[in-house]
Every structure is written in C-alpha cells, then in structure tokens.
C-alpha cells in the first residue's frame, strides 16, 4: 500500500479546513471499506486521509412514521439496518442495506460513504432517490440541504464543493398508501456489486397510483429516474399490462454501458424485468 498522511480533526471546521488546504489528494475516511481497498489496489491516489470519526454530532438515527428518517455521516449500514422500525417503514432501504457487501463490511461501512462514493451501482442510492431523500452538508460558507436526486454529477462525482462535508441524510415520512421496493441483480448473493439495481416507490389512493418514482442503478453515469415510465403508472390501477409497458419504457430511459460485469443489452433487459418485479412486489405488499 502506498503511504499517506493521516489526520484526525475534532470538528467540521477543521475537517473542512484540511480538505481545502490539502487539495485533490485528500479524502475523508469514515468506514474506509471502499477507500482502503482502492488505495491498496492503486485505483485511487491518496496523499492525505482525513478521519472524521472524532468529529462530534455525526452519528445518531431517528426513525418514525411521523418524522421520517434521519441519520448521520458515521451511521454504518449494519447499524441502520438493525434500527427499530426501519425495516417496516423503509423496506426498500432495508433490502438495499442487507444486499450491501457482507455482514462484516456492513458493520464498518457508512451509508453516507456509500452515497458520497457516488458509484452508479451503489445499493443504497436507488431507494433513497426513489423516496425523495435529501443530503445535508456543512461548509464554512453555509450549510445546504440538497435533494439526493440532484446530488450526483457522474461516476464518483457529486455537487460537493471543496471543503464541503456531507453530514446527514433525511428521508420524508412514508405517506399512507405508499409502498416501496428495491431489487438488486448480481451474480452472487453477497459481496456483490449490482449489475442492475431498481427501486420503485409508489403512492396510491383507493387502488389508484397517484405518484410513482423509479430509480435505476448501474445503468447510467448516475442513478437515474425513469420519468416517462413513472408517468405511465400514475393514474392507473397498476394492472399487469400497464406495469409491463412501464417496465418497457424504463428500459428505454436508461443508458447502460458494457463492461466485464455485463453487456449493455443485458443490463437494459434487466431494467425491464426488475422494474416489473419491483412493482409486483409493491402490489403484493399493498394487497
């Protein structure tokens, strides 16, 4: 492993100051489950690691039907999955957390680390995007609340400015009549990067779909929404024919690439299958 300088600041001010002054070679260390592997395998050149574990106020989870969900930057995937109420209120996020890597990695990896890594295949992003989550950030010039759907600008890239730190995620409370699902597709059952990940969140009233949000992972430079497919669902009773055409529409709205994991054609085809299955899963829960 290449050598790097290790910093352990005590406040957000210090973290921000270090990131600004140290420049491009400085990275935040939280769980480190991805970063350290990248350093070891020389996929990322790191000169400085800024460890945020000593910064107060970055942990803690609140989760309730009334207030929704909020968790801090140091919250691990394992901790969040085990939090009371999460599996009931956000089964899509719960499934995504449980699909992430392995138990050992989940006990170390932070959810916000998974998000800020900005991989299009990150498991936790599609369900959070589909549920309208926002990310809270801190910067000496002022804090921001950014809708997660607008956070990513490309693979590994986000709208975070130099010296800006993601501090928390908030998710609105689930509305009555709303349902959600996330399906991950990979070759293995654990320790797997999604070939495709599809999250579907639907609001219904009296059996009619009033709003639909479909988020597609690993089929574009960022996690994508499929607005036209969503539009096909809204106002319907989500009958099989409608669901099939929405799934077909979602296939047209993604922009997958071919690589060693899969061909673009296969990914596109899976967007169709998984979108349909995710809606079906939602309908089964609703019924």
């Amino acid at each position: 492993m290449r050598r790097f300088e290790y910093h352990a600041p005590n406040s957000l001010e210090e973290v921000s100051g270090l990131l600004t002054s140290l420049g491009d070679g400085a990275f935040i260390l939280a769980g480190g489950t991805d970063l350290l592997v990248e350093i070891r395998e020389r996929l990322r050149t790191v000169k400085h690691l800024v460890d945020i574990k000593k910064v107060p106020g970055l942990s803690g989870i609140t989760c309730s039907a009334a207030q929704g969900l909020r968790f801090g930057a140091m919250t691990t995937a394992g901790e969040l999955a085990a939090h009371p109420g999460l599996a009931q209120l956000y089964p899509n996020l719960y499934d995504a957390l449980c699909a992430l890597a392995s138990i050992q990695v989940r006990n170390r990896a932070t959810v916000i680390g998974n998000i800020c890594r900005a991989s299009p295949s990150a498991d936790t992003i599609p369900p959070l995007v589909a549920d309208g989550a926002s990310i809270e950030t801190w910067h000496p010039d002022g804090a921001r609340i950014i809708p997660l759907a607008e956070f990513f600008t490309g693979p590994g890239r986000s709208v975070l400015r130099a010296g800006e730190i993601a501090t928390a995620i908030t998710v609105p409370p689930p509305q009555p009549g709303s349902y959600r699902a996330y399906i991950k597709h990979g070759r293995r059952k654990a320790m797997e990067l999604a070939t495709v990940g599809v999250a579907v969140s639907l609001d219904t009233k009296d059996g009619i779909c009033t709003a639909a949000r479909i988020a597609l992972g690993a089929v574009g430079p960022v996690v994508l929404r499929a607005p036209q497919a969503e539009a096909l669902l809204v106002g319907t009773r989500l009958d099989p024919k409608t669901v099939t055409s929405a799934a077909q529409q979602a296939m047209l709205e993604c922009t997958p690439i071919s690589n060693v994991r899969s061909s673009a054609d296969y990914r596109r085809e899976m967007v169709g299958v998984l979108t349909r299955r995710a809606v079906q899963q939602v309908l089964e829960v609703a019924a």
Partner: protein, 769 residues
Amino acid sequence: MTKQDFRIVGKSVKRDDVIEKVTGEGKYTGDYHMPGMLFGKIKRSEIAHAKIKSIDVSKALAYPGVKAVLTHHDVPRVLHYGSPHPRSASCTKDQYILDDRVRFWGEGVAAVAATSEEIADEALDLIEVEYEPLPGVYDIDTAQLPDAPLIHDVGPGGNLVIPPVHVERGDVDKGFAEADLILEGEFAGGRPTPTYMEPNVCVADWDGSNKLTFWTSTQTSFMVRGALAEVLGLPLNKVRVLVDHMGGGFGAKQDLFQHEFLCALLAKKCRRPVKMEFTRRETFVAGRSRHPFKLWLKQGFRKDGTLVAREMKVVFESGAYGSHSPGVTNVGTASATSLYRCDNVRLNGRAVYTNTPIAGAYRGYGVVQTYYALDIQMDEAAEKLGIDPAEMRLRNAVREGDIAPSGHPIIGHGLESCISHGVEAFNWAAKKGAPDRLVAGRPSARKGYGIGCEMHGSSAYPGIKEQGNATVKMNEDGSITLLTGAAGLGTGAHTALAQIVAEELGVTFSSVSVVHGDTDVVPWDIGAFASHTTYMVGTAAKMAAAELRARVLVRAAEKLQEKAENLEMVDGIITVTGKPGTSLTILEAMGPSRGIPAEHLIATGSYMPTKSYSFGAHFVEVEVDTETGIIECKKVMPVHDVGKIIHPIAAQGQVEGGVQQGIGHTLTENYVIDTSNGRSLNAGLVDYKMPLSMDMPDIETVLLEAAPDPGGPWGAKGIGEDPIIAIGPAIANAVYDAIGVRFHHYPITPEDVLNGLRAKQKDGANAGL
C-alpha cells in the same frame, strides 16, 4: 487390504493443526520476519508483447530506502522450465528469470528491494522502461494461423508448446461405420484461476557460507530447491527450502515463479533477507490459471447406447510460457480414451502459446476440460436414443479390465457403483420423471436435473515416474515421529499420514507427530499434487511403519520369551495371542533401562507407484430463472469411490471444496483477457466471481469404498482432484433438462441463458412454419 478391524483409519480424528489454525498461531510464510529484512516488489510490463529497448533504474536506485534493483542485465541468463518436474515427459525450457522481451501484460521486467513494502512499491513508478511493441496473439485461433506472430523461438514450431499429442486405439473409421448415431460438437472453456487464500509469498536469506534458506508457499519444495539450485548454480545442499502451513495451492503452486528467483537474487545482492509477497492482483496476472480450451468431439453410438467410436481434437491455451502445458495436454488428451469405454478412439491434443498470463496446473489438470465435452455429448446421445442419461452412462461406464488412460487395466467397478448408488440415493428416476419442471412460487423459474461422471488418476504416472518417501522414528519414550516431504496445502494430508502410521504400527493416533516442509531434514518428495499424497506417501509411510513394528515386536518377543509372530500390538500395548494377562507397553519393550540407551529405531519407506483411478458421479438439481438467466445450483449429490476412506471429514471437505470450485467454473468464474491487447479485465476479487458460502447448494456427499486399489494403503485412492470434474457437465446437463437449451462452454452466464432461450424460441417458431 484384507484388514477388517480399523482403530484409527476411517475415523475423523482431530487434525493436529486445528488449534494453531483457529488461534492464528499457525505460521505461514508471510508470518516470517527477520531483523534487517527487506521487501521486494516487481515492476510489471504494461504491454503484452514487446522488446525492451531500454530500462533506466537510476531514479529508483536513488530513491531513499531502495537497496537494490535488478533488470535482465543483472540476473543469470539461464533458460529454464516453468514447471520444475524432473525429467517430466516433455517439458519445454522457455523462460528466463528476466528477459529483454516481455510476452504478456503483467510479466516482470525488474525487481526492487527496499526497507519497506511501501518504498519498494513507490520505487516501481521510478523505473523507466522503453518498449518496442511486437504484434501480439491473444486467442487460440489466432495463435494457430500460419502467419501468426511467433512468441518463442524455442519449441516445435509455430506457437506450439510441444509436438501435438496423438493417441489412437482400435479402428475409428470402422467404429463410425458401425454407428447408428453420430454426434459432433464444438466445446470451449474460460480461464478460471485457483484463487487460493494465501497469495504467493517467499522469504530468502543467505548465510555466510553462501547457503540459501528459502521459505516459500509451494506444493513442491524439493522442485523449488532443484530449480533454484540449477539456475543459481548451487549444489542441492546449499539450498534449503522451507514451508510450514499453506493457504492453498490447487496445483498452481507447483511452478517455480519469477518472483522466487528474484527474491533469492535480491537477497544475495543486498546480503540481507528479502520478502516478496504478491498482491491479490498479482495472483491473477502473475499466477497460474486453468488452460482455456477449444475442443471438437465426434462420437458414434449404437442404438442400444453403446459407444463405438470417438474422435477428439483439443487445443489448450498455454499463455505466454509452457508451464504445465505438456502435462495438461498429455493428461487431458489421454483422459478421453476412457470414462466411457470405447474401443476405437483417435485423439489429438495441442497446446499453443498466446500473449496472455500463464496457464499452469490446476486441480483437474486438463481433464476438467475434456470430460466437460464427453459428458455433455453423452447426455445428447442419451436423449437422441431415448435412453435415460444415467442408464446411458451405466451402459458405457469404464470397468474392471478396461485399459485406463495410463495404459494399465482398471481395477474394480468404481464408476458403475457411483452411478448406481447415486441413482437410488438421489431418487433420480422419480425426479427426472416428474411431469413438469415448474418451481412453486417462482413462475419464471424452471428446475432441472443432471448427471456428470468422472475418473481421475492418483499420481502423474506414466508422465512422471513418481516416488513417495517416509521416515518413521521411535523416540525413547515410545512416541513416534513421521518425517515426510509431502506439503500440507490445507487438505489434512499430514493427519491422514499420521493415521496410517498409527494404524499400521499399532500405536495411538496422538502418539504420532509429523515433521514436514524442510528439505534439509525430511526425505525427498516429488510434491503434493496429482491426488497422490495419501495414495503414494501413505503407502510409503505404511511401509516404514510396518518395518518399525516388526522391529518392535522382535525386541518385545525377546523380552517376553515368545515368538514375534505370536505378538500383537494395539494402542502401544504388546500382547501375546492366546495368553491374556501377559503384556508389555511399548516403553517397557523399547525404552532405556538401567543406564542402557533405547534402541535407535528408524525406518524408511520408499514407494514408486503406478497409478490408481478414483471415480465419481455427481447428481445435480438447478433452478434457472428464464427472465434473468440466472442459474442457481440448489442441490448436489457427489458420489465418489475412493477405495478406502482414511479420514471421512477431510475427504468430504475435499469433495465440498471441489464442488464449490466447479460451480464457480461453470457459472461465474472467468479471468477475462482483452483479446485486442492482452490486458486483464478483472484481475481481482471484485470482478472475478467465486461462489461464496451463500451461493452454495445443499451438498450431500456419499463416499464409497467400492473399488480398492492395491497400490494405496488398504486400498485408498486419491480424492483431491476428482470432485471438481463431474460437477460442470452435471450442471450443464441439468440446465438443459430445465430449459431445453444446450451449452457447450463454461462459464454459462445469465446472458448466455437468455440468448439461448431466444434462439430456441426462434428455432421453435421457424420449425412451426
């Protein structure tokens, strides 16, 4: 073989290394640290085929902490084998430690020793190499073109590693003329790698007498000693190779690797110990994979299913160097004489160089590839002839007296026993006869059942005339020490050897300890490979124990004033037949007394085996998702005949591990090389997909003692390689049973499944017109 009452053999005694392994106290090569030790790293080429025009190490040498840099200018230029088997049938010398030319992307071009691993790694970037690119060859077909660029100027010509292997028996043309059904097909396989847990690692240290001590993770310590001594110009007693615990090898750690020479040379140059340890990435680019292959198979059958003719042509892709290609080509080609008996066979095997990473030895050694084809085509024939696939195999199964690939007669009816036993235990007929292939609760899934068979030899005879040796000592307190050169890859081989010694000698298992892995101390050994350790070294250990036992009984007979043939020894207690109450402990018989030292008791067994064959039949249930193309292996029943089971849990462990690797080969594992430039596309565990615990099916292993072989201890035969062979075709055949799509290659990806289903639908639609 006639012994009936076993006290230790056949029982799952506690392995002697269990505690040190679970507590982490077991010492692996990577655990060795020495004062003043340096760390070595290898600069690897970033081009697949090129001449090195110049190489400038001045900046690296000037980097603080760097102690030495070696290039092709600084190392002995000795042409050597990759696979160091002595006098092996047909090895090609085609490697230099460092050459002025690179032949694959990732080949070492220079080596650095520095005071830390980090500094050595950083210094690699400071080495400037100027290449003159050469046209490359990245696949089997291109390598065989008449105008293909040549990768070596040694060898029989073209890009052939060895002259083609030709095996012919009977009259093939006559056989085909008598056939009612002739099937012909092309098959191919990817590039699985063994992915052992412990990356390659070695530590080299020279003493003041110019003697090299070399710790390394190897299956073949004496081969490492031999090749190091030969290339470095040293007598064998000036090279001491040590290996204690190993984190797996699966065959690949039989080669003498480039880094092993370089580590020794760096240590010599610096006069300090040097450690070199592969990263996981290096275990891919600089490790050894299974040989990718292409195969054409044509077979003729009579209406009753009898095989009457077989013709096969196979080409193995060796990568940039020959390594084990001679062995793999010979064994893989010859293996197709058998499994399913056929009097008329014509087989042709080739190995070709390409500018890709080196293929070497890997569990199943060429047989995985050829039997994949044989067993899939057997299924196709069964269907065409309307015969149940298991019945079809039973009719053709190799049996007592048939001539084995090695040229000598098969002993017993092992394969037939495995098939018959599995048909019953798996409930084959009922499962295959089920009216549909639907899966409850999964409308898009289909289930299917498949069978695959295998046989595999213990020992590399006749390619290599092997020799197993053992020394058994009795200490003056009656405890026993077994000295063996057999490596412990993690299989439990040393436990099995200790069981054999204890059983034969008549002492308790706990009174036997094993010393291994030091070439200056233990008897010579060819290495742990070819499924032969229990079979061959086990026999040598049994011979040594028998001699020791005889000497103990002679001494005891004197003390008891009885005839030695009337004495029995069990658990270290010597008794007289028919005289209850008269007994001696081993210590009383042999120990020191009244100032007289104990008798010096040491016995040696040396055994040169021919070969035995183990057999297996795997029964598999799969589920195929027809929308995603994902194949899940749900249940496997591997039935293996091993002649005599020495340690049931260890044998079962071998089977389960083989099944896991075989599932990986067939469904997910493939080390992919970009065929436009020779670069690795997934040299790491993120994108090289081994099945993990959650992907594993329910495995119900059945071990049979159906066909004991007189060449092994009490009839025992090998089990190391067998379990990886039959699982592949069993899965492919089960997939066909589930969805009606035939695959002739591995791995079978989800995308292949969907494309196959589409093609089938199209064919169906066309047929409907």
